[in-house]
């Protein structure tokens, strides 16, 4: 590869460097870890009530069962810091104590933990434990307890729970065209293919944990705080993670229980949550009721927007998502109001799931926008273009970039959008009613503090050691590309090591901030290596003094500037040391405060609705996206597709159904919790604009992992309307929802 090429690693569609390991079964996920000492196997016993106290628990039969080594319950669980203490460490770093007392906080909470030699033994013994409860009335439904709703102290995805720009009521009252709609979005579970799993082993008072986790540094704090240890005495290892989607941001019960039991037994303990466990011992996105009021003038100019959200928050666990957060940044309007309310409920942990806020916010808001465009008699693409803001409407801040109009225009052209007002029910293809829909995607762009550590050996090999994770996002590959470009060297000479808390602390993976934040830290560390090489080289050859470090090239084990060249080994020999070793630490630049930063997209969908059965099938889905500079066109394309498929799920498939008499999720397996299968997904069309946002980070990139989900769902819902005349008010849209409309249209 020539020099010109080697300067342009970023963006190249390189194959994943971890690909060969993944296709041969050699990539070791948490539950695949086999240490020197054989692990015993743990199994969680879940509470069968939603709220109350354990009046008695009989573990004798379990303890006497074959192979059982230990049964933990609240009666004998080792002391832990109370759940929720160490709040200053954030919700992931706080104590996550389990089995701490006789209280049952939610359905499925652990009431006991069985450890045996084998899974078969532990699982059976778990069924032998008899628990009796005093059941108490619980709160399982935010809407039914709306009178207890409060404003949340903090929100994921918005600075303020309530915000009003302009005077909404006045403006709305005068608007000649209005839409008022109430939406229900369902509870969802991230349902990563890898269940949460932990292997805990102790040695001389120190804990090593192999686990499926997105952010190692937080997990380390969370475990240390729970177990009353120093974070430095906890090591987390997580080289491969089988998908996260938010569900592995923090630690969960299996990790705490494994650590406790391993210490009691002085033996490693491995626990993989069962798929059923995950619906209560993993986090979920809770149900939301969203109310939207939109007003426009008769030409299709937005005047007023109000977006209200009501949701449950798991009691004692501070997380709520900002369903209305994006609204203040979407379209120009004279008045914009958002309001979030939460009800503390006795339900399993509510936490981030892919694109918290925007995923469900765009689902409803972009549906309502479609409805308003229709009432104005304006084409829905035109309507959105017509209402493009100059600055962020809610804050007045300038946008770092705002390419939404381009996404919409290019998308409409690629899709073959037939412009004009929506007129539902007009298109047939055999037995199918066909509809087209459009929606905008918007997702906030964030940078989190991140460190990096890089060392360059005398033979010209660069090693990055980071506690960063690759949850399928391509991090191993992308960070190598960033480093190769930063040092002007071959990507093949770089080894990226991730997923060990002994390595440099990064931001981990989450909120689409991973690549941009850690990538920037890697970029900085490599810049520091350039400077280090140059300053050392100058000490042995004055001719290197005053050279611009940007001119420096690495070619194998030599470094060159212009016609000067030195072996790296010579420099090291002269000044001492085995490697050039540099660290860096970055945080968000001021532009993240002073400017509104988002990634954008426009989604176009075509659905078919069966005239006999009202089955809805997606026929086409096209997205045009701008996420700043693309770091790897291949992995970015894959991430966008994955997000779009989450959007298909949000529109048509996914819902965790709770029986609110008991606070119990009922469809807690993958046969009944429907994620899209291969056949549900037609050929997806993904277009990426060649953006570069210099305000985001020095790489010019923006978050991409959550963008695809944000417009796909509403585009599909709007297409269903175009096909049938059914306006979705609850998600996912099912057969029974559209059947009356289909019946009206075709008899």
């Amino acid at each position: 590869m020539n020099q010109q090429d080697s300067r342009n690693w970023i963006g190249k569609p390189l194959d994943r460097v971890d690909g060969p390991a993944k296709v041969t079964g050699q990539a070791t996920y948490a539950a695949d870890y086999r240490g020197a000492r054989a692990a015993s196997i743990g199994f969680i016993v879940e509470a069968g009530i939603g709220k109350g106290r354990i009046s008695s628990i009989d573990t004798t039969a379990a303890e006497a069962s074959d192979g059982v080594l230990l049964v933990l319950s609240h009666k004998n669980a080792p002391e832990q810091a109370p759940f929720g203490s160490h709040k200053d460490a954030g919700r992931f770093g706080q104590s996550h104590a389990a089995l701490e007392n006789d209280r049952v906080k939610y359905h499925g909470a652990p009431v006991a933990f069985v450890v045996a030699e084998t899974l078969e033994q532990a699982r059976h013994a778990a069924h032998l434990i008899e628990v009796k409860y005093d059941i108490e009335a619980g709160v399982f439904d935010a809407e039914a307890h709306e009178e207890d709703a409060v404003r949340p102290d903090s929100l994921d995805g918005a600075d303020e729970a309530d915000k009003e720009t302009g005077n909404f009521e006045k403006t709305f009252d005068k608007a000649p065209v209005t839409v008022e709609a109430e939406y229900h979005t369902p509870a969802q579970h991230a349902s990563a293919m890898e269940p949460h799993a932990t292997v805990a082993e102790w040695s001389e008072g120190k804990l090593t944990v192999h686990m499926a986790i997105q952010i190692l540094s937080d997990a380390r704090k969370g475990l240390a705080h729970t177990l009353k240890m120093e974070p430095g005495d906890v090591r987390i290892v997580s080289p491969f993670i089988g998908g996260g989607f938010g569900s592995k941001l923090g630690i969960h019960n299996e990790a705490v229980l494994a650590a406790l039991a391993a210490r009691e037994l002085d033996r490693p303990v491995r626990v993989a949550q069962t798929r059923r466990n995950l619906f209560s011992n993993g986090p979920h996105r809770t149900e939301h009721r969203q109310r939207l009021k939109l007003g426009a003038d008769t030409d299709g100019r937005l005047l007023a927007i109000s977006h209200d959200s009501l949701a449950a928050m798991a009691r004692g666990y501070p997380f709520a998502e900002a369903a209305g957060g994006l609204t203040q940044s979407s379209y120009a309007a004279l008045a914009i109001r958002m309001r979030h309310r939460i009800v503390e409920a006795d339900i399993p942990k509510v936490d981030s799931m892919r694109a918290p806020g925007e995923a469900i916010g765009t689902l409803t808001f972009e549906s309502a926008i479609d409805e308003l465009a229709e009432r104005c008699g304006v084409d829905p693409v035109q309507f959105r273009l017509l209402n493009e803001p100059e600055t962020e409407p809610g804050s007045g801040k300038p946008f770092s970039t705002r390419p939404l109009a381009r996404c919409l225009s290019e998308g409409a052209a690629s899709f073959g959008w037939r412009s004009g007002p929506v007129r539902p029910g007009g298109k047939r293809d055999g037995r199918w009613l066909v509809g087209h829909g459009v929606a905008a995607a918007i997702r906030s762009n964030n940078i989190e503090p991140a460190g990096a550590e890089a060392s360059l050996s005398r033979d010209g090999r660069l090693t990055l050691k980071l506690d960063m994770t690759d949850i399928g996002t391509g991090t191993y590959t992308i960070l190598g590309q960033i480093a190769a470009e930063a040092l002007g060297m071959q990507a093949g000479m770089i080894e990226v090591r991730l997923g060990d808390s002994d390595f440099a602390e990064t931001c981990g993976s989450g909120g689409s901030f991973g690549a941009g934040s850690t990538g920037t830290a890697v970029h900085e560390a490599c810049q520091n290596i350039r400077a280090d090489i140059l300053s050392r080289a100058a000490r042995i050859d004055a001719g290197w003094s005053g050279v611009n470090s940007g001119e420096l090239r690495l070619d194998g084990d030599r470094v060159s500037v212009g016609d000067r060249s030195l072996p790296l080994g010579d420099i090291l020999d002269a000044v001492g040391g085995e490697t050039f070793h540099c660290k860096a630490h970055i945080k968000a630049g001021d532009a993240h405060e002073t400017m509104a930063q988002y990634s954008y997209g426009a989604l176009f969908a075509e659905v078919g609705v069966d005239t006999d059965t009202a089955e809805i099938r997606l026929r086409r889905l096209l997205g045009v996206f701008d996420a700043g500079r693309i770091l790897n066109r291949k992995t970015a394309h894959s991430q966008l597709m994955g997000g779009m498929i989450f959007g298909i799920g949000a529109a048509l498939l996914e819902e965790s159904l709770m029986d609110k008499r008991y606070g119990a999720f009922m469809n807690r397996d993958l046969a009944e919790y429907h994620i899209a299968v291969n056949r549900d997904v037609p050929r997806l069309e993904v277009h990426m604009l060649d953006g570069f946002d210099r305000h985001s980070n020095p790489l010019g990139s923006k978050g991409i992992g959550e963008l695809g989900i944000c417009g796909a769902g509403p585009a599909i819902a709007n297409a269903v309307y175009d096909a049938t005349g059914h306006r979705a008010r609850k998600f996912p849209v099912h057969i029974e929802d559209v059947l009356p409309a289909v019946s009206r249209l075709v008899g």
Binding site: G48, L653, D659, E736, S743
Partner: protein
């Protein structure tokens, strides 16, 4: 999973002798699933998956299929594709290739309901624990029965294959522990819940399905269609199997079975009565659908299945009378 004795049967006779107090293991795709959850807790498992019962024989009585034949082998058998296309479609509409490769014909009949209240040991379920109640009645019941349900149970049978077998008037052959055999019409193998929903079917304890016989001359026009939320790998919301001949422009030998609507594959005999001997027309089809669903009762979330079933009956009859064979939705 409770510990159990594992016995590999050398013959059907061995199996019934060994199995009276246990359960027979065919493909295990449902039984092992339920054993892990300790919803099924047999003391003994009699493995019948290797009995020499996996052959398919054609004879004057019809096609005689060993109970151990895999779902995929039956679906792909040339004679099944040719003579019983609705059965092939029904089989291939169910589950996935992996599961169909393992699941047996006998086991498919005997799979248990997917009612989530049956699956959740913390909830009341008369099928799982007789007398404990039915939490599905006032619970989440979108997938539940609209026909033939009782106050004790509103679960539905999940099989696609059994619906096809009921429509084709197949016969199930069994062997009892005492060595006697009997033949049971497939449409009568399963039962309605009544006061004893713990019993899915009419087989006695220890009675083994050995064969299924498909009639030699089924109706020429056949159709199976499954309505589902996912386009694959999903249980039926409602499904339908229809077969008839057109003789001189009139419907003859009609049979219709519905899936996803009852505790058993639901033979739509009232619809059949309306149709038999009639000339195909939209009006006739609608009359047949109305006649069958007149006695349907919704449970709340599943009310839509009544209208959906009617539409499906009309659509299936329409497509079949127009000569369309089956549609893979």
């Amino acid at each position: 999973m409770k510990p159990f004795d594992y016995v590999r049967a050398g013959s059907a006779q061995d199996a019934v002798r060994a199995g009276a107090e246990g359960r027979f293991l065919g493909g295990g795709t449902n039984l092992v699933d339920l054993m892990k959850l300790e919803i099924e807790k047999p003391d003994r498992l009699v493995d019948v998956s290797r009995l020499a019962s996996d052959e398919i024989e054609d004879g004057v009585e019809g096609l005689r299929v060993g109970a151990g034949v895999s779902n995929s082998a039956l679906a792909g058998h040339p004679l099944v594709r040719e003579r019983y296309p609705l059965l092939s479609t029904a089989l291939l509409s169910g589950a996935t290739q992996q599961l169909r490769n393992k699941a047996t014909v006998g086991g498919n009949f005997l799979q248990r309901t997917r009612c989530q209240y049956f699956y959740d040991v913390f909830r009341a379920c008369n099928k799982r624990v007789p007398g404990s109640g039915c939490d599905a009645l006032d619970g989440i019941n979108r997938f539940h029965a609209i026909l033939g349900a009782s106050e004790r149970c509103i679960a539905v049978h999940p099989s696609d294959m059994a619906v096809a077998m009921a429509a084709l008037d197949a016969t199930v052959e069994t062997l009892k522990p005492d060595g006697s055999t009997r033949s049971i019409p497939a449409r009568s193998l399963h039962r309605l819940p009544g006061d004893t929903p713990q019993f899915d079917h009419v087989l006695e304890t220890g009675e083994l399905i050995t064969h299924v016989v498909l009639p030699a001359s089924p109706p020429k026009r056949q159709f199976y269609r499954k309505v589902r939320d996912r386009s694959s790998y999903a249980f039926a919301v409602v499904s339908i199997a229809v077969a008839f001949d057109l003789e001189g422009g009139r419907i003859a030998n009609v049979s219709i079975a519905l899936g996803g609507v009852a505790h058993k594959p639901w033979r739509a005999d009232r619809a059949e009565s309306v149709l038999e001997g009639g000339s195909p027309s939209a009006e006739l089809f609608a009359m047949a659908a109305e006649a069958e669903l007149a006695r349907a009762v919704g449970q709340g979330h599943n009310d839509f299945k009544i209208d959906l079933s009617k539409r499906l009956i009309v659509a299936a009859l329409r497509d079949l009378s127009e000569g369309k064979r089956e549609i893979a939705a």
